[in-house]
């Protein structure tokens, strides 16, 4: 499959690439806030059980030389991190009582 979006063992996660494979934390956080809990939960349920397997797969590559499909998988894991809080803690996309508070990530390493 020449045009596979994700490494073959993770093909089942491909439906989530369009929504959750995002380049930066601000984009991922915005996606979290604009998603419904159903959407968030569906993504979490699909990817969370595969976390350790995905890390093991990605560990075989040097961090600065990830193939494109592996890099997409890593970005899905970054999104998993941000949506784990709504699922595991808040039961809603936003942190309660944070109203207009701002705290933005302005600098982050790549990849």
């Amino acid at each position: 499959m020449a045009d596979a979006l994700l490494p073959a063992p993770f093909a089942a996660l491909e439906p989530f690439v369009a929504a959750w494979c995002l380049d930066s934390e601000p984009e991922r956080y915005a996606k979290r806030l604009s998603s419904s809990m159903d959407e968030i939960q569906a993504f979490y349920d699909a990817i969370f059980p595969r976390t350790e397997e995905a890390i093991r797969y990605l560990e075989q590559f040097p961090l600065d030389a990830l193939p494109e499909d592996a890099s997409r998988l890593l970005k899905l894991l970054y999104s998993l991190i941000l949506i784990s809080f709504p699922v595991e803690i808040w039961r809603q996309p936003a942190i309660p009582d944070t109203g207009t508070a701002s705290f933005e990530l302005e600098l982050e390493p790549v990849p």
Partner: protein
């Protein structure tokens, strides 16, 4: 005479207080009376703080890793002093700071797109966007357009205006006073300068920034006491949600004060050493979370770096060093650190900067552990940001004017005291002319 504290026996054993009976009374410069926060809601007091504190104290504006090469520079907006600085590494490798102002007609020299936003980069000279007056990296004026049109001008007299600048352990400090009353080393004092940490090896940096509607001290106070986490952050994991955990509260193991600076040390929770329910599922699989990555970074050895864990506590998780006036460094047991900067913008407004520094990750597993660590910081910090805007509103009502501070809030009491001391000193010296 203060009444004795009534600490539950187990906590008294686990977190012993000094012989005086409390941390607060251990420090003779502090009293135990309720505290006024008028200084956090008064525009007049803020005007005094700008002169008495922010134009007299050494202020950290960054790290040397931001200025690796000759010609590397960044600008720093200091609303509290109504100025902008250029911090630059010269061709002679010296790091200097200048007011970011052209000597010709006062235009801001280095900026891009938005004059109020900070920039960074590398250059060989600074040319003014207005009439092209040009300065070298050491601040000398090197070019005047149509120089012959100016009356008896001597370029040597029109260099950029220098700001005192000094480096400690890779942290670049500036002092806006014409002549600082102390050198940086004298200002930092023995407790801070005892720290020798391999900062230069922790180059994987994340930077957060928040614009928050509250006084800088009201905000800082939440980051220098560990009394609030079981409540304000009490929904962050299943253990903290339990009533008996909340009822017990949390105790800081060690407090220390040195001049205007202070430190609090606590036990830690990295490595999954607390009960499993303390950790959310993502934390257990990625081995990271509130305390940062669970696995020690490459800088961790059997011995802690000098200056850390000043109370020599057996169970040590972190030190939160508060460097007056607005800078904090938090060292974590698994070998990473955080800095906080609280930059006042008005009496009821601040810019909050949080930077996390890790060892460069060697693989995806380490990279993800760091990413979960910094994501967790945001979940907690947003809870603080939201609530502290509410605190500012409560204070501004002036319905209540004095507030009891407990022994766990000794560092808040100390900051309040130091701020008033600096302002009083300034007013005295001004009265004496």
């Amino acid at each position: 005479m203060t009444e004795n504290l009534k600490v539950p026996k187990q906590a008294a054993r686990q977190y012993p207080k000094p012989p005086e009976g409390s941390w607060t009374e251990h420090h003779p410069e502090l009293d135990t009376a309720p505290v006024s926060y008028e200084s956090s809601i008064s525009p007049e007091f803020y005007a005094l703080e700008r002169e008495a504190i922010f134009k007299r104290a050494w202020l950290n504006v960054g790290r040397v890793e931001q200025l690796r090469r000759k010609g590397a520079f960044f600008t720093k907006e200091l609303a509290v002093a109504k100025t902008s600085l250029i911090v630059v590494r010269g061709m002679d490798d010296e790091i200097r700071a200048f007011h970011n102002v052209c000597r010709h007609r006062g235009n801001k020299l280095a900026w891009t797109d938005h004059p109020g936003e900070e920039i960074s980069g590398t250059c060989r000279q600074f040319a003014c966007k207005y009439h092209g007056w040009t300065y070298d990296l050491e601040g000398r004026l090197t070019f005047i357009l149509q120089e012959g049109e100016f009356f008896g001008i001597d370029k040597a007299a029109y260099g950029l205006v220098r700001v005192h600048c000094a480096v400690w352990q890779g942290f670049v400090f500036v002092n806006l006073a014409p002549e600082p009353e102390q050198t940086l080393t004298e200002f930092l004092g023995p407790m801070i300068t005892a720290i020798e940490y391999p900062f230069e090896r922790l180059t994987q940096r994340y930077a957060y920034r928040g614009d928050i509607r509250c006084n800088w001290k009201v905000f800082l106070d939440a980051f220098q006491e560990f009394y609030h986490p079981p409540i304000l952050h009490g929904n962050q994991n299943p253990v903290m949600r339990q009533a008996d955990y909340r009822d017990k509260g949390f105790y800081t193991s060690h407090f220390q004060i040195d001049g205007p600076h202070r430190v609090g040390s606590t036990t830690g929770g990295a490595g999954g050493k607390l009960v499993p329910e303390f950790y959310n599922p993502i934390e257990r699989v990625m081995r990271s979370g509130l305390f940062g990555p669970w696995d020690p970074s490459e800088i961790v050895t059997d011995e802690l770096p000098p200056g850390l864990n000043p109370g020599k506590k057996k169970s040590w998780g972190l030190d939160s060093f508060q460097i007056f006036p607005n800078f904090a460094i938090v060292f974590w047991e698994t070998g990473w650190y955080l800095t906080y900067h609280y930059w006042p913008v008005a009496h009821d407004r601040l810019v909050f900067e949080a930077n996390a520094y890790f060892a460069p990750p060697r693989n995806v597993r380490e990279r993800l552990a760091q990413q979960l660590g910094i994501a967790t910081i945001k979940e907690y910090a947003l809870e603080d940001c939201g609530t502290l805007e509410a605190t500012q509103m409560g204070l501004e009502s002036r319905a209540v004017t004095t507030f009891p501070l407990g022994d766990q809030e000794l560092m808040c009491r100390h900051l309040n005291k130091v701020v008033h001391t600096w302002v009083a000193d300034y007013e005295r010296s001004r009265a004496e002319g």
